[in-house]
């Protein structure tokens, strides 16, 4: 689903974010990406979302070489990728339902279908009762779950999460990861960047470790104690 071939990323100004990174993630698997802050986790996710381009090497997502794809494909790549952010990135002046509906609006679905799918997505993250609330009226964990509902509402084959548990207490974090596991069980490829090592260890999934822009380790699930 995601394949990196000797990918390097140097930002304008010379700072090196990724250096010679190669890995392959299978369709339908759940993988963690970890490392200290500044190790290149966010850059890696941004490359997968076509928010940046690799300086060298090739990034394949779902068979498409993003390093060579024209700019106009970027929105389509993003539409096929659910992304969850540490700071939620919700529209504060729109209701929970409107926020979750956004990807479907962009895709131009019928209103009736949008309503149905928004309710289904909110039901899955346990927030059906908050459908017409404003995001700021919700707790941090709830806002994060709204973000997840928005990421899965269009049923993309790929789900990315950048420090999704950043501000949450351990219980909420565990619930969130269980939710990701559920999504992955339905055939969605899930890649989660996180530095919450305790939690990651408990999930028994494959872990990619970045260190100073290099892939320092690639631990298969069976090797997680």
């Amino acid at each position: 689903m995601i394949r990196f071939e000797r990918v390097s990323k140097v930002y304008p100004g010379g700072s090196r974010a990724l250096a010679d990174v190669s890995f392959d993630i299978e369709r339908g698997s759940m993988v963690f990406l970890t490392g200290h802050s500044g190790a290149g986790k966010s850059t890696l996710l941004r490359l997968v979302m076509m928010l940046e381009r690799a300086s060298r090497g090739n990034v394949f997502v779902n068979g498409l070489n993003l390093s060579e794809a024209p700019d106009r494909l970027a929105p389509i790549v993003r539409r096929n990728t659910g992304m969850i952010f540490q700071d939620h990135k919700l529209l504060k002046d729109k209701t929970v339902a409107d926020n979750v509906a956004l990807p479907l609006m962009i895709a131009g679905l019928k209103y009736a279908d949008i309503r149905k799918r928004v309710r289904a997505a909110l039901d899955k993250v346990g927030l059906l009762s908050k459908v017409s609330q404003m995001p700021l009226a919700l707790s941090g964990g709830e806002q994060q779950r709204v973000g997840i509902a928005r990421a899965i509402v269009s049923m993309p084959p790929l789900l990315l999460a950048d420090e999704p548990t950043g501000n949450l207490d351990p219980n909420l974090s565990r619930e969130l990861f269980a939710l990701f596991e559920e999504v992955a069980a339905q055939g969605v490829t899930v890649l989660i960047a996180s530095h919450d090592l305790d939690l990651i260890r408990r999930m028994h999934k494959r872990v990619l470790v970045l260190s100073a822009g290099r892939l320092a380790d690639d631990i298969p699930a069976r090797n997680i104690p």
């Binding site: 690799a54 990135k89 895709a107 679905l109």
Partner: protein, 325 residues
């Protein structure tokens, strides 16, 4: 792929496209209605900017409507030499008739002239002291009616011919006055064109600036839209609709201002024009004029918004160019 599925694919694309537009349409309307004061101020500025060229246009349209082609204003007065008798005058009149087919021709004998003068001037009896009638034969000729240019050349031909007739002492015409007015109207038309261009530019700039601020204040929203897969077109649409609304409402204000101005100025202007002996009907904007103003305003607003958003998207680099750095 068979034809049916191709058609259904195209149909689906069109439906998706129209749904995206209806979303932008309503969201832009919502934004405009939410910021009532700001919207009102922008729209007023736009309305006044559009009112100025429009007002000049209506004024000129009305001046042109005053019957400038009245025959008496283009009439040439021909004074014959003293002592020329009626036979010669009628010969000249016949000649003119054949050559120029004038619109109207009146012959005034010295006797009739004296009678008119007597009754009109009030000198009455004092004219009795004159031994003989000093007035010559006089003829008034108006060219065939036509456009201002045609009238002008016809008057020129007429006077050129009369200058060659020996029995004619003098020709006199008021045509210069008419000519000047015609030229002034031409100048006015050019001024309208210039003003339309200038104030059209002003509308674009005002809308572009308003939308620029609007876009900047919604930078976060734009970023989020781009992150969840909105293309440039989707990000642009609500702003383009906002610009369109601004232009449309500005045009509406301009039309309303014209109506108010006509209502206010109509009375005094009518009285003024009555003194020129002209039955005068004030002409406002026709329905199709108003439609043009609304459509023009909407188009300019849309264009202004497009400029603003496009510049911003380029700066943001989200969904824009992804250089291989």
């Amino acid at each position: 792929m068979n034809d049916v599925s191709l058609f259904s694919r195209i149909g689906r694309r069109i439906r998706a496209w129209s749904r995206q537009h209806s979303y932008s349409f309503f969201s832009s309307l919502g934004v405009i209605l939410k910021h009532k004061t700001g919207t009102l101020m922008t729209v007023l500025v736009l309305g006044i900017a559009m009112f100025l060229p429009l007002g000049l246009y209506v004024t000129l349209n009305n001046l042109d409507n005053v019957d400038l082609r009245q025959d008496e204003w283009s009439a040439v007065t021909v004074f014959f030499k003293p002592g020329i008798d009626g036979t010669e005058v009628r010969r000249v009149a016949n000649e003119l008739q054949q050559r120029f087919e004038p619109g109207s021709m009146t012959l005034i004998s010295p006797e009739q002239g004296m009678a008119d003068f007597r009754s009109a001037s009030g000198f009455g009896d004092s004219l009795e002291i004159l031994d003989e009638n000093p007035l010559p034969w006089v003829m008034q000729v108006s060219p065939r009616s036509g456009s201002t240019d045609q009238l002008e050349s016809r008057v020129a031909e007429l006077t050129a011919y009369l200058d060659t007739v020996n029995s004619v002492e003098l020709t006199q015409f008021d045509y210069k006055w008419l000519q000047r007015l015609g030229r002034l109207l031409d100048l006015g038309q050019a001024a309208v064109t210039l003003l339309v261009a200038l104030f059209g530019l002003a509308v674009v700039v005002v809308v572009a600036n308003t939308i620029r601020l609007d876009v900047a204040s919604r930078a976060e929203e734009i970023e989020i839209l781009a992150l969840v897969g909105a293309g440039n077109a989707f990000v642009r649409q609500p702003f383009l609709y906002t610009g369109l609304w601004y232009g449309l409402m500005g045009g509406f204000i301009a039309v309303v201002l014209i109506a108010l101005a006509m209502f206010y100025l109509g009375g005094p202007l009518g009285l003024l024009l009555e003194t020129y002996g002209s039955a005068f009907n004030m002409r406002g904007l026709e329905g199709y004029h108003a439609l043009w103003v609304l459509a023009g305003g909407a188009l300019l607003g849309w264009f202004g918004a497009w400029i603003a958003v496009q510049r911003y998207l380029r700066k943001l680099r989200i969904g824009g160019r992804l250089g291989r750095s």
